[in-house]
Symmetry: C2
Subunit: 121 residues, 2 copies
C-alpha cells in the first residue's frame, strides 16, 4: 500500500513536470498550431485566437528556451521570422493530438446536451 502511494506520487510529479513546461494560457495552442507546420509571427497570432503580441512573443521565447520551438530570422525587409517545432517539440504531438480529440468530442457532447448554449461559446 505504501509502495503504491509512492509510485503514484512519481507519476503525479511527472505530470507536473510536463505542466510546468507547458504552463501558461497559450503554449499548448501554440504548439498545436506549429504542429501543422512552420508559421510566422502574425500567422500564429491569427491562428491562436485571442492571443496578444506580448503574450505570443513571451510564450514563444519560453518555448524556445526549453528547446521545443526553433526561431528563424529571415533576411528579408521588412524582417520575417519563422517558428517551427524542434524535433523535441514534436514529441509533444501525442499530447496535443489527444487534447484535440478530447476537445472535439467534448464539443459534440455539449452540443447534444444543450445546443443553444453551445452556440454561444
Amino acid at each position: 500500500m505504501e509502495k503504491v502511494h509512492t509510485e503514484c506520487k512519481g507519476k503525479i510529479r511527472a505530470i507536473h513536470d510536463t505542466l510546468d513546461i507547458l504552463s501558461g494560457k497559450w503554449k499548448i495552442a501554440i504548439i498545436g498550431s506549429l504542429g501543422f507546420g512552420t508559421r510566422r509571427f502574425m500567422e500564429l497570432q491569427r491562428e491562436v485566437e485571442g492571443i496578444g503580441a506580448k503574450m505570443l512573443s513571451k510564450e514563444l521565447r519560453e518555448l524556445e528556451i526549453n528547446d521545443l520551438v526553433k526561431r528563424t530570422v529571415l533576411d528579408t525587409k521588412p524582417v520575417t521570422v519563422e517558428y517551427q517545432l524542434t524535433e523535441y517539440g514534436k514529441t509533444l504531438q501525442d499530447i496535443i493530438d489527444e487534447m484535440m480529440k478530447w476537445g472535439e468530442n467534448h464539443r459534440k457532447r455539449i452540443m447534444s446536451e444543450s445546443p443553444k448554449e453551445a452556440e454561444l461559446i
Copy 2:
C-alpha cells in the same frame, strides 16, 4: 490554403476547449491522482504535493460541475468524503497518460544533460 487555415483553427479551438476544462494549476494532477482510484480529500492533498485545502476544494468543485469527478459523502463521524472519476472523467485518461509519459521522459532528458541541476528540482 484558405481551407487548411480554417481547419487548423478548429483544431486549435478544440485544444482550447480542453484547456478551459482543465484550467488551473492542479486539475490535471488531481485527475491523474484519481486515475489510480478513489481518494479522500486528505489523500488527494498528500498525493498532489504542494496544493492547499482551498485550491483543492475549489478545483474539485469545478471538476464536479463539469461531470468529471464524483463526490460522495459517507455517513461516518467525523464525515468522510470520497472522490472518484466519473465515466466521462475517465475519458481524460489518454491525455493524462501521455503527459505522464512525456514528463518521465523529460526528466530523464534533463538528468542526462545536467544531472546536478536536475537534482535540485
